[in-house]
């Protein structure tokens, strides 16, 4: 479904990604953990080409997408993204936020797009908030709208970059529940998160990234209970307490 081969990325002199090779099969939920600055966000952005890898190849459904003859806009329609800071469009209601992508990018008729947006908002538990502006919503509600907005494009896979790190503790649950439901419905997902409860119950695999490389990879139980790498062990013991 999503495959990366030997991804490298430099920011000036900084070598942020030093050869990331990964494969996520359909319906998989891959969780990426790792210390701050290890390149997790940069790697996610390489997948939907918000950041262009300097070297290496990104495949979606077997097609290499980081090629000059493939428009990045097309790639981004295939893969939804949810950000740490929600990034809802301030001037639009929840409904308009969700419907905008299909209307503008897919040229869907407005009423069709809005009907679908209503269904998606209901799915994330926000049917009553259609007409609310982002400033009128709690963080948890904003993030759920953001998830619905990404889903509205019918993506083949979803990328989540620390979706609950900016939330007050009381709103984390509702967002993780929506994500867990999505996973159970079979959505292919790559999630950067340090929510260990979510990772151990939902993830099919966990990847530990440090210094721009993958240090360890395995099932949740292996990583959390029996990490092989010394750095993984130190990191896991730090976030588990």
């Amino acid at each position: 479904m999503i495959r990366t081969e030997d991804i490298h990325k430099h920011f000036g002199a900084l070598h942020v990604l030093r050869g990331i090779t990964l494969e996520v099969t359909r319906g998989d939920v891959l969780v990426i953990i790792g210390p701050s600055g290890s390149g997790k966000s940069t790697f996610l952005r390489c997948i939907n080409l918000l950041v262009r890898p300097d070297e290496g190849r990104v495949f979606i459904d077997g097609v290499q997408v980081n090629r000059a003859d493939i428009r990045p806009e097309w790639v981004r329609q295939q893969v939804g993204m949810v950000f740490q800071s929600f990034n809802l469009f301030t001037h639009l209601t929840a409904l308009e936020n969700v419907a905008l992508g299909p209307i503008r990018v897919k040229k869907a008729p407005r009423d069709e797009a809005e009907t679908k947006a209503r269904q998606l908002l209901a799915r994330v538990g926000l049917a009553a908030k259609e007409q609310s502006y982002p400033a009128e919503l709690s963080g948890g509600q904003q993030q759920r709208v953001a998830i619905a907005r990404a889903l509205a494009m019918d993506p083949k896979a979803m990328l989540f970059d620390e979706p609950t790190s900016a939330l007050d503790p009381e709103y984390i649950r509702e967002v993780l529940d929506v994500m867990a439901n999505l996973a159970h419905e079979g959505m292919t997902m790559i999630v950067v998160t340090h929510e260990m409860g979510f990772a151990s119950s939902v993830a099919s695999r966990i990847v530990f990234m440090d210094g721009g490389i993958i240090l360890e990879e395995g099932r949740p139980l292996d990583i959390f209970e029996h990490p092989k790498n010394e750095r993984t062990r130190a990191f896991v013991s730090k976030i588990l307490r």
Binding site: F89, P134, A135, E136
Partner: protein, 291 residues
Amino acid sequence: MAVATEHVGRTRAPPIFSLSNAARIVEMVIGGLLLISIMSVVLKFDIRDPRLWAGYGPNFVRGFWGTLGYIALILPISVGVGFAAGWARVSGHRMLAWPAGAFVDFFRGVPPIVVILFAFLFGVDFIPLRVQLFLQDVFGTSSNSLPFTLAAFAVAFHSGAYQAEIFRAGFQSISRGQIEAAEALGMRHFQTMRSIILPQTVRLSLPPLGNEFAVLIKDTSLLGALGATELVGLSQEFTAQIPISGGQIVWAFAIWSSVALTYFVMTFLVTRLLRLIERRFRTPGLDVMSL
């Protein structure tokens, strides 16, 4: 955080012409007339003197329409120039940002009357003869009126420089994250511009633009110093003739009160209109207070 949990619909649009606005203008007009009458008693002259109005009336009407014409010319140009320069400054292209920055700095640093004089006196020399002829053919501008048009452009550029800063602030207040979110949906540059950046910039810019429009309306009076057909210039022309024509010097009081009142009503209407538009499009989280 979780206060806004009740259903919130779009705020109902306020009526464009509210009673309180009309009342404010009526108040001002009555107040102005009252002041003029009182002063005419104190200064001992007849405000209804037919010699005054027969002489000044035509000047006032001609000046008023002239001023409206200049506003109609200058306002759209200034917004266009201001928007373009504001955008150029945040475009990230040095070849655009640098000239735009120089433009803003220049027009903010030089008194408008000086720029206007330059444009009036020397502007024509910079316009190729072929373009001058073209303008004459298309707009019917005579070679006499061209310097005035160029002076009007100077006013527009002066205001445009200030508006550029307003638009720049609007552009810059849109979070990088929202632009990235639009990109992540697969929007192209111009779609992001049209659907995300423009609507928010315009909304954020409306209140300061209202102030700037008021300044611009008043600045058109500078053209009177060149002898352009506009309210202040023609009023000054008549005032200067009063002693020669055997009128009373205190007429000047009535004349300049009328002029002041006219500018007040014009700026008042424009700023109120903008405020109403702004209120109609008000969005929670997108007002100046929340910046």
